[in-house]
């Protein structure tokens, strides 16, 4: 158990270290340097330019040797200081990101969980009969093959423009100011629905297909055959097959997290939904390196955290890992 956790922790730490290092390199190795980029945009005159350049280099900590910049980066990271956004100057990057995170959580967590749950349920359902299989499986394949943004575009165009019952941009109506009123919450839900559904549908298809294939495999397993020859009910046999098939699906969730995050990113772009994905795109288009840095860091932390949770969950649900890790297995 200890050994297992030790290994996992090592990989997480290594990944984190590597990711942060890549992250640190972003503004420093981008074409042009961030300060002159920002100053060119504000078009100050040449006299003031030099003064301001020195000033901002100092503000952004770019006037010390590279190795020190690297150490400083780690230090400020632990203070929660990710620098100042040049695009939304002078808002600190951390603040910009913290404003966007709730939208990501609201979009991703339900879409992933509901998609995973419903996909597994329907996949198990499809494995029950030829007729269901022939209807659910093709649908699942089409959905997983659909690019995230295209499904988003289709939904936005059809339900947002043609039928016109859903808004297709923003997180809430522009005429409202954020408040704790029913009207505002209603507006938020109204705007949230389409991006949520488009993300959910693609997820759903993938899980359904995976579950269907796993169940069919499990129903062929020896323990299923034994139960059948003992005259157990089909219900019990299917239950056991489902419980066994869910395990690889949990690992699958960890593996697919990166893809889902990418999916959320393009979905946010389609619906101009102000999460980190949308922010990242804005940051890239405006060459706001500190913001890019922050977005990347938040995504990494989010994915690592989710992976960690899934790892722990897996140990809880699979007795084999639990016992095996403690060296009690034969």
């Amino acid at each position: 158990m200890k050994r297992y956790f030790g290994r996992k922790l090592l990989i997480y730490l290594l990944t984190f270290f590597l990711a942060v290092t890549i992250d640190w390199m972003i503004p420093r190795f981008m074409p042009g340097d961030p300060v002159s980029n920002m100053l060119t945009r504000t078009s100050v005159n040449s006299n003031a330019y030099e003064v301001m350049y020195d000033y901002y280099s100092h503000v952004f900590g770019l006037d010390v040797p590279v190795w020190q910049q690297y150490l400083n980066f780690w230090a400020s990271l632990f203070r929660g200081d990710l620098g100042i956004s040049t695009y939304l100057f002078p808002t600190p990057v951390t603040e910009v990101l913290l404003r966007a995170v709730p939208y990501d959580i609201a979009l991703l967590v339900p879409a992933i969980l509901v998609g995973w749950y419903a996909g597994n349920k329907f996949g198990a359902f499809a494995a029950r009969s030829k007729w269901l299989d022939n209807t659910i499986s093709p649908l699942g394949y089409i959905l997983t093959a659909t690019p995230y943004m295209w499904l988003g575009i289709l939904l936005a165009w059809f339900l947002g423009i043609v039928v016109g019952i859903f808004p297709i941009a923003g997180a809430y109506s522009f005429s409202l100011a954020p408040s704790f009123s029913w009207k505002f919450i209603g507006s938020v839900l109204h705007h949230w629905f389409l991006p949520f559904v488009s993300l959910l549908l693609v997820e759903f298809g993938g899980w359904a297909i995976g579950m269907r294939n796993l169940i069919i495999y499990e129903l062929e397993a020896d323990y299923s055959k034994y139960l059948q020859s003992l005259g157990a009910t089909n219900k019990l046999i299917r239950n056991y097959a489902f419980n066994n098939a869910v395990l690889p699906q949990i690992t699958g969730l960890a593996l697919k997290l990166g893809v889902i995050v990418a999916g959320a990113l393009v979905t946010e772009v389609v619906f101009s939904y102000p999460g980190i994905g949308y922010l990242l795109l804005q940051a890239i288009q405006n060459q706001d390196y500190f913001l890019i840095q922050g977005c990347f860091l938040f995504i990494i932390i989010g994915v690592l955290l989710a992976n960690f949770i899934i790892d722990i969950l897996y140990i809880i649900v699979d007795p084999r890992t639990r016992r095996g890790m403690m060296g009690e297995a034969s």
Binding site: I142, P147, W150, I153, V261, A262, I292, I300
Partner: protein, 286 residues
């Protein structure tokens, strides 16, 4: 003689497998369209050929024209080419790297395996799109070639994992021992003894990588980090969204590219299921 019989049997089952045939037919259809399509139109995908701007499909412009009066059909068939190139070579590169790392890790075991395993796990956990985004943002000019290189170098981890597990189980088999005893070099054993026994599996892996690469490319293109000097199906979707195709109702601009990607990737997946049934007698329906 026995081998020949086995091959004949595979071909027999391949031709009887509806999923495989349907999948293959769809792929071939789009492939042919990608090859001969650009010859059917004189319009360059970026030329402003229609002064009326966005017009629905007509006999002159089969798929209509864009907001700027560009020929959607021309963009579509040129974009298809890009899609196939990225899928084939990007997916191929990803498969190749995955195979190489998987084989070496699975065959050598020990410390080499440990190191490659940690590497695989790290690349697996980092959301590749975020990395791709940043790398892509570095380059002022990007081509389809750079895109497929990016994709190949980030899509290999799960393949490496799967191949490693397979190699692990194969390397303890008798024929590998025999080869070892006869003094064959490890790399030769991998390619002459182990790889042929996994051929069917490698094909399945490649097909999945093919489909995956197409989807990643579409995503990259859509957020504006695709090729800067070519057209692709993902770029078509990006342009259509930027220039308000949804709001203006010019559906002919964004329906064909998305539909084609869905059809191609879906066909690849279905082909994969079909091939699996051909290779695994257990899955064949009686």
């Amino acid at each position: 003689m026995k081998k020949e019989k086995k091959q004949n049997e595979l071909i027999y089952f391949a031709f009887r497998n509806v999923k495989l045939i349907i999948g293959l037919a769809i792929i071939l259809f789009f492939l042919v369209l990608a090859v001969i399509g650009p010859m059917l139109t004189d319009n360059d995908p970026f030329d402003f050929v229609n002064p009326l701007g966005a017009q629905p499909p007509s006999s002159e412009y089969w798929f209509g024209t864009t907001f700027f009066g560009q020929d959607v059909f021309s963009q579509f068939v040129h974009g298809l080419r890009a899609t196939f190139i990225v899928g084939l070579f990007g997916g191929g590169l990803g498969t190749l790297i995955g195979i190489l790392i998987g084989f070496v890790a699975g065959y050598r075991g020990g410390i080499v395996d440990e190191i490659l395993n940690v590497l695989t796990n790290i690349v697996l956990v980092i959301p590749t799109l975020a990395v791709l985004l940043i790398i892509a943002a570095y380059l002022e000019v990007r081509s389809i070639f750079t895109e497929l290189i990016f994709i190949g170098f980030t899509a290999w981890p799960w393949t490496a994992r799967a191949i490693r597990a397979q190699t692990f189980s194969l390397r303890t088999r008798e024929f590998v021992d025999l080869a070892k005893l006869s003094g064959m070099k490890p790399l030769r054993i991998i390619f002459t003894e182990i790889a042929p026994n996994m051929m069917s599996y490698l094909l399945l892996v490649f097909i999945l990588q093919f489909g995956g690469a197409i989807l990643i490319a579409a995503t990259l293109d859509f957020i504006g980090l695709g090729p800067t000097n070519a057209i692709s199906l993902g770029l078509m979707m990006q342009f259509s969204v930027i220039w308000g195709a949804m709001q203006l109702g010019t559906w002919w601009w964004f329906i064909p590219p998305g539909l084609a990607i869905t059809a191609i990737v879906g066909a690849l997946y279905i082909m994969n299921v079909g091939l699996d049934e051909v290779f695994n007698p257990k899955l064949r329906e009686m």
